[in-house]
Symmetry: C2
Subunit: 339 residues, 2 copies
Amino acid sequence: MATRRINMKDIAREANVSVATVSYVINKRKDQTIAKSTIKRVEDAVKKLGYVPNLAAKALVENKSYLIGVVIPQTEPGKQFMFSNPFYGELLSSIEFVARDKGYHVLISGTDVDQSYLEIANKRGLDGIIIVGIHPDNYYEDLKNTSIPVVLIDSYCDNLPFFSISIEDRKSAKIATQYLINKGHRKIAFASGVITGNGVTYERFLGYKDALEEANIEVNDDYIYSGTVSQEYGADIGLKIANQKDRPTAIFSTADIIAFGIINGLKKAKLSVPNDISIVGFDDTWIARDCDPQLTTIKQDVFKKGQKAVELLIDNENITNKNTVLDIELIERESVAQL
Amino acid sequence: MATRRINMKDIAREANVSVATVSYVINKRKDQTIAKSTIKRVEDAVKKLGYVPNLAAKALVENKSYLIGVVIPQTEPGKQFMFSNPFYGELLSSIEFVARDKGYHVLISGTDVDQSYLEIANKRGLDGIIIVGIHPDNYYEDLKNTSIPVVLIDSYCDNLPFFSISIEDRKSAKIATQYLINKGHRKIAFASGVITGNGVTYERFLGYKDALEEANIEVNDDYIYSGTVSQEYGADIGLKIANQKDRPTAIFSTADIIAFGIINGLKKAKLSVPNDISIVGFDDTWIARDCDPQLTTIKQDVFKKGQKAVELLIDNENITNKNTVLDIELIERESVAQL
């Protein structure tokens, strides 16, 4: 099978004219006089060979690529995307949908260890960059000096010259934990991915502690579970909690997908949610509505997060406030019992 | 915040030279003599302003974009990607990972109603196209005439001049159904997305019928459930089957995500898997390992599907067989009981 794209040379050969003539015809140059019959020959060849001028040429002229780069967390540096968390699929889906509507395309690329995303951004002439989640500090360093607009989703790198979109993670976690406290729970575990400064997980950890503190409950280190954002880790936590000596009666998990795993882990240990242990999740991805029992969780508007990010990249002339904070809502379902 | 990319004009202004001079220096043209001090001025300006030459220029010269387009099914024509099925996230993740390793980037774009993907492909100068799932016939029509290599994943459009990657869907479905028959089941339901010619669902439906026929079991139309590939539709099926008069004792579902929904639907109707009803899924996404009970399912190698697709696009000079068929395997877990 042919693998080469049709170019002007092919048109020139087919139409039996020079490449310059093809270029004049295709670019509708008015400063050249070309015989009508020649124009017709070129146009016929274009049609026959299925040639379409490349956006790369347009990009060079307009200095615009209509291309937005999206960075999603990887399972490990240099590895695959973390698509096992439905949150990222939903977010990417929203970004692509809104971008498409505005005539833009989405480039997705992870980075290899030690590769700078700026390199990718410049090479591709990206019109904007959306970075989801947190990355090592030096990841942002390079990007500080680019004139390409950058939107950070779910990070707390406040000192950087980027746009940011987030929710009030600390407050949300406090609301979730307070909800459990109001249901009579005092032994409340915290389950999350790695707790890193600048990250949403750290903020949610602070919110969890805020709620405990306000209720005069001491933080118990044995109740803090921090690993990976995955159902596997959740299942691990579930088994561990089931076998814990002074077992917590409730769990606040910073991701639905971890909560889903915890429920499975507890089930394996013959414990039931919410009868034995209550649990509140985070995100309100489809997993929350479709696990058993249905998950009480903090709902964030994933579609809006993606939409707002694209809008900020495309039209940011009059934006004075770099930080957009979206609303959340606690959704009551079946996973919490009154103690 | 600045939203414009640095271009040669900016460098020229900063270095106080002409744009032509900037171009000569950046492109290291040997046919022009430029003073060393001028070269230094330009280089300093490049560094200061963070200018990097654009891949768009390189693409025009090399006629290669190092860009692969990936098309994922949308929930409806013109709508968002169908990322709620974890299969697509896993596949995209694998495509991006392998492409990145080979120096390529991935462009994802759905299409609007009546938009041709060829338009996108040509505009972007894509080096290859991966189309996942089946699309209306006219979707492929345009692409027939392109010289850009196309790989179809999971479709049966055999008459098209494209590469294809698939599994033996018909045989896989037969294996799954026979497994249930061997466990003593004769009332076996079929649960799937829309059954369309050329699609994997249709092939799997044929395989299901093959197995019944060989065992002298008549196909019962009341046992055929065909809707959308989603947990919601699965939950619907579960409730319907629970209330069915002559209820099936087993279900073969063409997607884990539907099976997951069915289990939830049955649970709501106080029926348990596998005690009341057995179920076999398809794909072996993480959902299969982490639902309760764990799903007996047909495992396909999702990573390999993505990997092979990228390899076919990048190096297809000596490929004589357009169709790649990957192996499958039945994974026994907890969702099937002997009748």
